[in-house]
């Protein structure tokens, strides 16, 4: 295989000319490699963006928790004080503070609008907790709260965080699966194109065998052609897709996922791996197809 790669890289103009130019299969290979590389860049971008999203959601929600206190208005301040007292003596809690009415209004504003009369509504009070490292014992804290402040409910965001992180992680896996499928489809298409070229050139192959050509020589002539076509097509597809990704709107706070579907930093180098990968797929697919065809000839 190493020798086959070396031979592939060393140009042999005479050997290249032995196989007649075949317009249809050449265009098919170029187009397939280009289109698949284009799709692969977006799948890669999706996968990377999903990975970043999963990390962001996990880190944003991890380490924080909220205590929701529901109590009659006249007992609310007492309950808040009790809870803050409990929290101040709970190991693993870095800080805890009660959110004021303005902060709660800001949280509700996206859902109910700016004119919400917060003061007139029996809203629960929220206490924001920042976790220390190592964290607190959630079960123990719940038991203490139940005993000392029955209206307080600890929400450690697990029920939000887990499905969101899972969704983002699955999106990332789907992106990777798409890359694998694209690689497989590229291999299949190039195998079909190679088979077509081999079938169209059976007479050429027979002549080459007749004059003493070894299988490796014949295979190399086809493999080199298809590998270089796949490399060229995938390079064009990758560059076009990278331009497309670069032109996407920049990430912002409001639409971080859809607008964050680009590459960041060294991530821009990853798509550059796609053309050589396409060439490797074409190399393997054509080599397999060529040796299989030659097996049927003497």
């Amino acid at each position: 295989m190493k020798n086959a790669f070396t031979a592939l890289l060393s140009a042999d103009r005479q050997a290249d000319r032995v196989v007649p130019p075949s317009g249809f299969t050449a265009q098919l290979t170029l187009f397939t490699a280009g289109a698949m590389a284009f799709l692969a860049v977006f799948a890669l971008a999706l996968s990377l963006a999903s990975g970043r999203l999963a990390e962001r959601w996990a880190s944003a929600l991890a380490g924080t928790a909220t205590i929701r206190i529901s109590a009659p208005p006249e007992q609310m301040d007492t309950q808040v004080a009790i809870v803050l007292s409990v929290l101040s003596t709970t190991p693993g809690i870095a800080s805890a503070r009660a959110m004021d009415a303005a902060e709660q209004r800001a949280l509700l504003e996206p859902w109910f609008g700016p004119d919400l009369p917060v003061d007139a509504l029996p809203l629960p009070r929220l206490i924001e907790i920042t976790e220390a490292s190592p964290g607190y014992d959630g079960t123990g804290l719940r038991q203490r709260l139940a005993a000392e402040a029955p209206g307080a409910v600890l929400d450690d965001h697990t029920r939000w965080r887990r499905p969101m992180a899972q969704a983002a992680e699955r999106l990332r896996l789907l992106g990777l699966l798409s890359l694998l499928l694209i690689a497989g489809a590229t291999g299949a298409m190039i195998t079909l194109a190679a088979n077509s070229a081999l079938a169209a050139n059976l007479s050429v192959i027979r002549v080459l065998r007749l004059v003493g050509a070894k299988d490796t020589y014949i295979v190399r002539a086809f493999v080199r052609r298809f590998t270089l076509r796949a490399l060229a097509g995938a390079s064009v597809g990758t560059v076009l897709a990278m331009i497309g990704v670069a032109l996407l709107p920049r990430a912002d706070e409001a639409g971080a996922f859809l607008t964050g579907l680009g590459f960041q930093g060294a991530g821009w180098l990853l798509p550059l791996l796609l053309p050589p990968l396409a060439a490797i797929v074409a190399f393997a697919a054509t080599r397999f197809a060529a040796f299989r065809t030659l097996k049927g000839l003497t």
Binding site: V207, L208, V211, D215
Partner: protein
């Protein structure tokens, strides 16, 4: 050089050759005759390992043909020049490139002067750049012969090389084959052209073999 020992060949639809015994000695000249379908082409294919015998043993340059790997077959064919009736060229390449194809496939550099001499010898010196489809039948046969000898093979096998040629062109090709034999090459020509055989026998001591009843026999003196 090429040895057939009790060789049989079965296509699956019946036995085509049976109990064939023959030794092609170095420097010999043989004709192989027989009616169409008698097995002349099959015999030649066995002699350059395109086919493997279904019975007996074919020995090519001291090696059992059945034990040759695909690479061994390729190497063996570099020592056997084959001329087909339909010549079998790469039509998209010029004549000179077709003639040097055996050198190209084994990575040997071609010598332009040698090529010119070879093409002049077969009378195609001015057609080096012509594409095969533009050549006449005689020109194609002589080009095929040039391709067959460019590797300086030990043996030259020709399958009905004059089948599509007029008498004058056939004689020209025969002259080239006789010259090659005088240079020490082993020649085997499958043909049903009795006039060609008689003409050859007038110039050298050629043995004539005939395939009849699935066996290869030495033909009578009337030839």
């Amino acid at each position: 050089m090429i040895l057939f020992e009790n060789v049989g060949y079965n296509y699956g639809g019946g036995e085509l050759l049976s109990d064939v015994a023959l030794r092609l000695a170095p420097g010999s000249f043989h004709f192989l005759t027989g009616p169409s379908g008698a097995g002349k082409t099959t015999f030649l294919k066995l002699a350059y390992a395109e086919l493997r015998p279904t019975a007996g043993q074919v020995t090519l340059f001291g090696r059992d043909a059945r034990r040759l790997t695909r690479d061994d077959v390729a190497l063996t064919r570099r020592r056997i020049g084959v001329v087909h009736q339909d010549c079998q060229f790469l039509d998209h390449l010029p004549l000179a490139t077709n003639v040097t194809l055996p050198l190209t496939v084994c990575g040997k550099p071609g010598n332009a002067q040698d090529l010119t001499s070879l093409l002049d010898w077969v009378g195609l010196g001015k057609l080096a750049d012509a594409l095969p489809p533009s050549l006449s039948g005689g020109e194609r046969q002589r080009a095929a012969l040039a391709r067959a000898v460019i590797m300086d093979p030990d043996v030259i096998l020709a399958d009905e090389p004059t089948g599509n040629l007029d008498w004058e062109m056939s004689l020209r090709l025969l002259t080239l084959l006789v010259e090659l034999n005088r240079m020490g090459k082993t020649i085997l020509v499958a043909t049903h052209d009795m006039n060609l055989i008689r003409q050859a026998k007038s110039q050298l001591a050629a043995r004539v073999l005939r395939i009849a009843n699935r066996r290869v026999q030495l033909a009578g003196a009337d030839l």
